[in-house]
Symmetry: C2
Subunit: 226 residues, 2 copies
């Protein structure tokens, strides 16, 4: 196989399996699992380094990070969550409404470190971003996913809070006009990483079978629409 | 440290370093590096499994994948690239225009496997997607970043082509109306993984220093705007 003459770091099957294990063990962690202990600076540095080594369209590196530890500021952000979440709760009915109300969906105050991640649009044209403008924001998401995996490998939990009003965050964190919130992350050590996603354990949603998500050559008529 | 009593798989510092190495060695691969050899089914399966174990808002798993190997179909998609790319080239001036023209920006036909990745919006409200609708698409991007890292750990190159007209792809791949193209990926074995991003090697863009991208507690006035 041609790969035999490849130049560059060659990973072994055991190394690929380890990555798979990190991917399978990554969880979205909420406030009922976080410890308050601060994270070591070396760990925070590793997580941020993982972020900035994500792919970015045209090597534009359009990401910026605000590290938030101040308790009053985190409480103000949690206020935004609570307002948005009470509106969201009204969208679910019956048993789901009850389950929704019982769930702990964020760890903004419980996690010792919050990181707000922003997209900074370029004022000049960006290579690769000329047909699909959204790929600038997508680069920032790749950075967040790198952070999530790096955190997990350091046995640090991370949760992504999306039930927030970006306008409120803009005020609280003094965000310049042109920046756009992509993700609001809570990080900290945890007492447990669940063996399956919490919403799967709670039977909020079921895992979809891979074969129902994959098509060959073109989209095929779905066997079963949900 | 409280982490001592953590439940769940505990990764060692060596295992965290290995993830870091995979992250640092991941590259966006273009057509001048791909081998035509088909990828083993086991590798394709591992890459897709990594995708569907990405985080998704409300465990919505809103991703779908179309695997494209047919040469005529890949040529039709490359035609869309060429049309979009000739429009894009006009946006760059002087030396940058010349460099832009010289660069090989995709491997649609050279790579043996293309995977088009789509977002499938939910018709019902999704937990966590009620305030920031874009997080559904962002879940799909997390899946793509998992694929990229998994591919790299299997010594398989991947490139993300974003210079495409999503409407053209919709026609070529018979994509249902409600699905939305998030990423178009080219995968294959490679002759080399560069030791730095190609656009950094070509001095198209410089790497930004981490400290210029990180703020504490709130955004600070920038020391140097570019």
């Amino acid at each position: 196989m041609c790969v035999a003459i490849m130049k560059g770091r060659r990973f072994s099957p055991q190394e690929a399996s380890l990555l798979q294990e990190i991917i399978l063990n990554r969880r979205d962690v909420r406030g009922n699992r976080f410890h308050p202990d601060p994270l070591p600076q070396t760990a925070i540095q590793s997580i941020l380094e993982a972020a900035v080594h994500a792919p970015s369209v045209g090597f534009s590196q359009p990401w910026e990070f605000v590290l938030v530890t101040d308790t009053a500021r985190r409480r103000a952000i949690r206020d935004s969550f609570q307002q948005e979440n009470s509106k969201a709760a009204d969208l679910f009915a019956g048993e789901r409404a009850e389950l929704y109300q019982r769930m702990k969906l964020e760890g903004i105050v419980e996690a010792p470190l919050n990181i707000a991640v922003f997209y900074r649009p370029s004022t000049a044209p960006v290579l690769g971003q000329t047909s699909m403008d959204e790929v600038g924001r997508y680069s920032v998401v790749c950075a967040i996913q790198n952070m999530w995996l790096m955190a997990r490998s350091l046995n640090i939990g991370m949760g992504w809070v999306s039930i927030l009003d970006p306008a409120a965050i803009r005020g609280i964190l003094q965000v310049p006009k042109d920046r756009e919130l992509v993700g609001y992350l809570c990080l900290g050590y945890v007492d447990e990483f669940y063996d399956a996603p919490e919403l799967e354990r709670l039977q909020w949603e079921r895992r979809r079978a891979l074969q129902t998500l994959v098509h060959n050559e073109t989209y095929q008529p779905p066997q079963q629409e949900n």
